[in-house]
């Protein structure tokens, strides 16, 4: 048996915490380096857990070839902790090492720059405050800086963008986040009712309520009582695909708005309304809040709702295709989309991009395919990706993903009609499996969502880690605007539409 790491071929994955090998740091460094050298492996989560005087570090890595989750760990004393940086070799880890540094003061030697991530309330260095972020700057007569935010022009969440420009051209963009920090990971431990935790999960990022609530529900189920109800699994996948369709259509509208193509904007806005109103018909909430719960469902799908979904998809799908066919052939739109904000596959790999951001740069990462969960285990999702990595690729990506999601829901509803298991009411488990670590992955519309929970000997949650796709993908936006006109920034920003609150937690 392999003593360097655990390799679990399941999603969600669970193990006894003591079964995860504890390596000396140099060995941890070697093992992780060996694993991450493979293109098909990338880091899901890397975090520290305080245990008295010590910190216990865990890393979870997705192996897309073996469809497994790899776990390993090391221990260190809190005080003496200085380690050679892994991010120096594998840039995809830069955010994780920064987060550990910010939370516990650990030094990673050779890390490009251990900047603050989100200024959490319980950060190690309380003198580091959000008003004092250490921006990169260049001394030069020719260059000037442009600061935007935290409050932006539109109705949108806060974040600060600092551009270094040469005339109209962006040389460098630095994105400073943290304004949205609400202490969610901490609340996951202090709120002791299981229902409270479900509601926290669906409020991590309101535009991904289903994606995060599902990651949480899977995690709680594997830590208590897995549910093998096929009907429930199908319904959850339908909800997740509805969320994907709604946001992609909404973002198509926003992209049109940014290039002043008003018809595209209003048509897509109205189409998004039809999708979220159907979600509301199903569960009473346009964002799917209250729909996903562990153990069962508050709102089992009914024949009537299912038929409404089918009807809506047929109509919305047809109109969306008609509209996007026009949008994506209009010279005035193409002139703004093509070759703008390009992120290459090589950059995507290096940054560890996930989800649609990765796929539109030609990197096929999709948890539904690599680590299938719920009914995706019995169902084939057709991969959608584009290689050009520009705004056009991301617009096309959304269009194609909408079409694929419509196909998925249509076949899922057919399967749903055949599977006639009763879906029971949710189960709010108080007691979880003790001394365990569990990892749960879903593919939200932005991409991979990862929730990790660790329980103590009493079966209480001792550590809860949340990672939205945005944690990886914000850096893609920073690279996308390099050497672009600053006026293309809003467009590049919309093409990704990353989450502030999902990042800031």
């Amino acid at each position: 048996m392999n003593r360097k790491y655990l390799d679990i071929k399941a999603n969600p994955a669970i193990c006894n915490t003591e079964d995860i090998p504890v390596l000396p740091y140099h060995e941890f460094n070697d093992v992780v380096s060996g694993i991450l050298a493979e293109e098909s492996n990338h880091c899901l989560a890397y975090f520290a857990v305080p245990t008295g005087e010590n910190l216990q570090f865990y890393i979870a890595i997705a192996d897309d070839t073996n469809n497994s989750i790899i776990l390993t760990s090391f221990t260190a004393e809190r005080k003496s902790a200085v380690f050679p940086s892994l991010a120096a070799k594998f840039f995809q880890l830069h955010g994780f090492e920064r987060e550990i540094h910010e939370n516990y003061g650990i030094q990673f030697e050779g890390h490009p720059w251990l900047k603050p991530v989100r200024f959490p309330f319980n950060r190690y260095n309380q003198d580091s405050v959000i008003e004092n972020y250490p921006f990169y700057s260049i001394e030069s007569e020719e260059l000037h800086e442009v600061g935007v935010g935290p409050v932006h022009a539109g109705v949108i969440e806060p974040g600060h963008f600092r551009f270094i420009c040469n005339g109209e051209k962006v040389r460098h963009l630095e994105i400073q986040l943290g304004y949205q920090h609400r202490g969610i990971e901490h609340l996951m431990l202090t709120k002791n009712s299981p229902l409270q935790r479900c509601i926290l999960a669906e409020n991590i990022a309101g535009d991904t309520a289903v994606g995060h609530a599902l990651a949480h529900a899977q995690l709680i189920e594997i830590l208590s009582e897995p549910v093998a109800n096929e009907t429930l699994h199908i319904e959850r996948c339908i909800a997740l695909e509805m969320e994907r369709i709604a946001v992609h259509i909404g973002d198509t509208a926003a992209l049109c708005g940014d290039v002043a193509y008003q018809l595209g904007q209003v048509v897509c806005e109205a189409l998004r309304t039809t999708v979220i109103n159907t979600t509301q018909l199903w569960c009473g909430n346009r964002f799917g809040k209250s729909l996903i719960r562990p153990g069962g469902s508050n709102f089992p799908l009914t024949e009537e709702v299912a038929n409404n979904i089918l009807k809506m998809l047929e109509d919305t799908g047809r109109r969306y295709v008609e509209m996007t066919d026009r949008i994506l052939t209009l010279p005035s739109v193409l002139a703004r989309f093509e070759d703008i904000g390009t992120v290459s596959r090589e950059q995507a790999l290096k940054l560890g991009l996930v989800g649609m951001a990765a796929r539109s740069s030609g990197l096929l990462r999709d948890i539904r395919i690599s680590h299938p969960f719920q009914f995706y285990r019995n169902f084939e999702v057709h991969p959608v990706y584009h290689s050009s990595g520009d705004v056009l690729a991301r617009a096309l990506q959304r269009k194609k993903e909408v079409e694929e999601s419509i196909r998925i829901i249509q076949s899922l509803i057919t399967r749903w009609k055949e599977s006639k298991t009763t879906v029971s009411r949710p189960v709010y488990h108080d007691r979880l499996r003790p001394s365990s670590l569990a990892v749960s992955l879903t593919e939200g519309w932005r991409g991979e969502i990862c929730h990790v929970a660790m329980t103590n000997a009493q079966g209480e949650i001792q550590q809860y880690k949340i990672k939205d796709a945005s944690f990886h993908n914000w850096m893609a936006l920073a690279l996308a605007v390099r050497n672009q006109e600053i006026s293309d920034f809003p467009l590049c920003n919309k093409s990704y539409n990353l989450s502030y609150c999902g990042h800031d937690l």
């Binding site: 539109g154 969440e157 609400r182 309101g206 209003v266 806005e269 008609e322 026009r326």
Partner: protein
């Protein structure tokens, strides 16, 4: 051009003609009705299961400023608590958001407490600056939707603007994260007088599930007069627009 006309045709008419009477899905959770005969035992039961402490264990009332509309109380006591799809739940007094077990009474603004200047200055044109301070982006998206082709609040001269200098007030979403305290204050200060403050969503009104988070600072909200409370998780665009229409006297 012909293609555009064809698209316009299949697009059809999308706007909501009457924002006051538009029907929303049965299951949409708006104003709750709590039955008069809810027993003391049931009040306690409901209060105990409510994830945000929105239910008073002795009175059996539901505070819509705290409620996250999860429907758990109604699932447990279907004969006693029922959320109707009445989306007109915005008020201008915090205490009016507390719904008592008194049957089916509509929720309206307290006219005498609306600052008179609001109607003189803003009735035909209200420009708002939105500040998300820890909002989860669902309320923000609903506020955007309030101006879209369906809800089109622009028909009443209500609009979001980019600069606080052009605004007549601010609309706050989110529980107010500590990290946004300074930016929120600066934005508010930059709005010329007279100005209004609107809170949208449970998180903004009470802090919601985040009320006791050490990452939150509610002092701005506590120290300012609030002109309109718009509950919801997130607040529905119709709740927001109807609240504004009531405030402006439209």
């Amino acid at each position: 051009m012909l293609k555009e006309i064809k698209i316009l045709k299949s697009h059809g008419v999308q706007y909501v003609k009457d924002l006051r009477t538009q029907k929303v899905a049965e299951r949409f959770r708006g104003r709750p009705i709590i039955s008069n005969d809810i027993t003391d035992e049931e009040k306690k039961q409901a209060a105990a299961l409510c994830p945000v402490g929105a239910i008073d264990p002795t009175k059996g009332s539901i505070d819509l400023g705290r409620c996250v509309f999860c429907n758990e109380c109604a699932f447990a006591l279907p004969d006693k608590i029922h959320f109707t799809n009445d989306y007109r739940i915005a008020t201008n007094r915090r205490e009016d958001l507390i719904i008592q077990p008194r049957g089916d009474l509509p929720l309206r603004l307290k006219e005498s407490e609306i600052v008179p200047q609001i109607r003189t200055f803003f009735k035909g044109s209200l420009k708002l600056r939105q500040v998300s301070a820890g909002g989860d982006n669902s309320c923000e998206m609903e506020l955007n939707a309030a101006g879209n082709v369906n809800f089109d609040m622009g028909r009443y001269g209500i609009e979001f603007v980019a600069s606080p200098r052009h605004a007549d007030g601010i609309v706050i979403t989110g529980p107010v994260s500590k990290n946004m305290v300074t930016a929120l204050r600066i934005t508010y200060d930059a709005v010329p007088d007279p100005k209004i403050i609107i809170l949208v969503g449970t998180d903004a009104i009470s802090g919601g599930l985040f009320a006791d988070s050490p990452a939150i600072d509610r002092s701005f909200i506590e120290n300012h007069r609030i002109d309109l409370y718009v509950p919801g998780n997130p607040a529905h665009p119709l709740t927001f627009i109807n609240g504004l229409m009531d405030l402006l006297g439209i």
